[in-house]
Amino acid sequence: MFNRIFAIAKKEMRQLKRDIRMLFIVFFFPVVLLAIFGYAINFDVHHIKIAVYDQDRSEYTRDYISGLISSEYFDLVTYIDNDDQIKKMLDEKIVQAVVVFPKDMSRRLLSKQEVKIQFLVDGVDGTSANVIQNYVNAATYSYSIQLTKEYLAVTGKNLYVPIDLQPRFWFNPDLQSTRFLIPGLMGMILIITAVISISLSIVREKERGTIEQINVSPLSSIEFILGKTIPYIVISLINATIVLLAGYILFGIVIKGNILLLLLGTFAFLFAALSLGVFISTISDSQQVAFQAANVTSLLPSLILSGFIFPIESMPIAIQVLTNITPAKFYIVILRAILLRGAGISAFWDQLIYLGIFGLVFIVLATLVDKKSKNK
């Protein structure tokens, strides 16, 4: 039995060696995806362009602005001097936000009255607008505290702030979104290459008629499928290594957890992904159909529904249920636990079970469809 499986696996490797197109999909594609996604998908908002309409032109306004632009979050683009320009600045997207200081700002501050600063934000990109608001709030709060302290110092008193919140971000202290994205990206790359490569390699035998010769041999379906998948398991593991290395070199991601657990999780995931690929091969008659089907079932769900980019918790219940169609969802949980948190198996054992169920369901489906089509 092992000799026969080995014969299939060796044949598969020899064919792959000569198939430039497949080699490209299998080895080059993942690195390109990683680089593109790693650099392009970035939720960190930096260098927001702002304009300032300063009607007061005082020491206070200058202090406030230097407080904003001393961080890397804001870049001062220009000063403006009338209301009409505010509209122009935002309409033409010259800046993302405009700060308006009232005429009597310094006078009111000196006479201990409240001052209202207007902050106009382009709200089209809701995520960025939110981030901008948070940064500005923080900056304003700290400038306010500073002014209060100065005022109290003059009167000889000390400022007493009853509660001081000290946030510390674990696992991703600098809140870099790439740290969050790399595990998802790894899941997506592995599922695409695994599903596409195995389904194409089986359908090609159907398309060229070579499967007929295998069907009349004593080789069983299990031996055939095992022989076919072994090379792609090896390749997927190589791919996973490439992605982890690239993640380390390009984005500084180190594996915090146990490598053996990572291997175990990856095996469970490959089992699920490869059985999806085998299933696709049973319902497709040509490589073109298989390629399309593999793309639709692996790329889109793993991009949108896996929690890779959009958090599953904030989706409507119906969509949350739908997210179970992609094994990437479970793998990403495992990857984040191991890569970022260094967690043990207790943090993700349930995900391993889900992956096992997913794989079994599709292998059984594939067997049923295959049996049926053989009697046609």
Binding site: N3, R4, F6, A7, I8, K10, K11, R14, Q15, R18, D19, R208, G209, T210, E212, Q213, I214, N215, V216, S217, P218, L219, K374, N375, K376
Partner: protein, 313 residues
């Protein structure tokens, strides 16, 4: 003992009966010809006999094993090669041989021995490292047959193995089939070419899923056409045919290039009647009229037309 025994074999797809209650036996070591038009049910029958398609009714014993319940044992004892030459075109010759040897569990000395044999019969002794896809059709086909019998099966099924191959390659291929048969291998071969059918020890003919004739080529020629056949050569073939078909004493007609074959219903009609009808009455120059023994082609056309008429009624 018979190598293959087919009993009431039937395959129904939905409402379509592709193979309809077929019975035949194939003797050990013979070359058995399986003939029929495209879509007559040849491939469906073969696919059942090699264990990849389940029969709807009936059964067959292949090398003593039931295709219904013991298809795994059947598969171990047969070789199969189809018109599509199921070799991997992107592998080299030796890689193909090694792969098929591998799935039949050949290794070590046995593998080396069989590899040399396959290379020899395919005439590829010093070309083991050539990519299979670049070989000419005739060579590829012999390589395909060689790999199909790499495990020395007792029975080999060949499904239109010579379609689309030049005549010389076909001749070489048949030499190989004869060699296998002399070595004791039973060969079941389907073909379109009736000259190839002449090489077979026994022949069956199927039409629309039913077996309509069986026997060796001599038996077929003498048992199925009792009436005399005339071969007519004239300068206006189509016109002659139209004229002849109007006569009551003309049974079936068929055109072979410049000749017309006519099966007579009335054995009192002779060559003179034909000359009279075509040349004297209609002014067509008749070069030759001759009484002939029927060819396999005459037999099959006769049988298929008879069977089709019966089906229409």
């Amino acid at each position: 003992m018979n190598a293959i025994e087919v009993k009431n074999l039937t395959k129904v797809f939905g409402k379509f009966t592709a193979v309809d209650n077929i019975n035949f036996n194939v003797k050990q070591g013979e070359i058995f010809g399986f003939l029929g038009a495209n879509g007559a049910g040849k491939s469906t029958t073969i696919r059942m006999l090699i264990g990849i398609l389940e029969p709807t009714y009936g059964d067959a014993l292949v090398s003593g094993y039931s295709i219904k319940n013991q298809s795994d044992l059947v598969k171990q004892n047969i070789g199969y090669m189809s018109q599509k030459f199921s070799l991997y075109n992107d592998l080299t010759v030796v890689e193909n041989i090694r792969f098929f040897a591998g799935i039949y569990g050949l290794d070590g000395k046995k593998y080396e021995e069989r590899k040399e044999w396959v290379l020899k019969v395919a005439d590829l002794e010093n070309m083991g490292n050539v990519i299979t896809g670049s070989l000419p059709g005739g060579i590829k086909q012999r390589l395909a047959l060689g790999t199909a019998v790499i495990h020395e099966p007792k029975i080999v099924f060949l499904d239109e193995p010579t379609s689309g191959v030049d005549p010389i390659s076909r001749r070489n291929f048949w030499d190989l089939i004869n060699e296998l048969s002399e070595g004791g291998t039973t060969v079941l071969v389907t073909t379109h070419y009736l000259d190839e059918a002449e090489f077979c020890n026994d022949i069956i003919l199927i039409n629309a899923g039913k077996l309509i004739a069986q026997g060796n080529s001599q038996e077929l020629k003498s048992n199925y056409i009792k009436n005399p056949i005339l071969e007519i050569e004239s300068d206006r073939v189509v016109d002659s045919l139209e004229i002849l078909e109007k006569e009551k004493w003309v049974g079936e007609t068929s055109i072979f290039g410049n000749y017309i074959h006519v099966i007579l219903n009335d054995s009192t009609i002779n060559e003179q009647h034909i000359f009279q009808l075509l040349q004297n009455k209609n002014g067509i120059a008749v070069k030759r009229v001759e009484k002939i023994t029927p060819t396999l082609e005459d037999v099959f056309i006769h049988l298929i037309e008879k069977d089709s008429k019966k089906n229409v009624q």
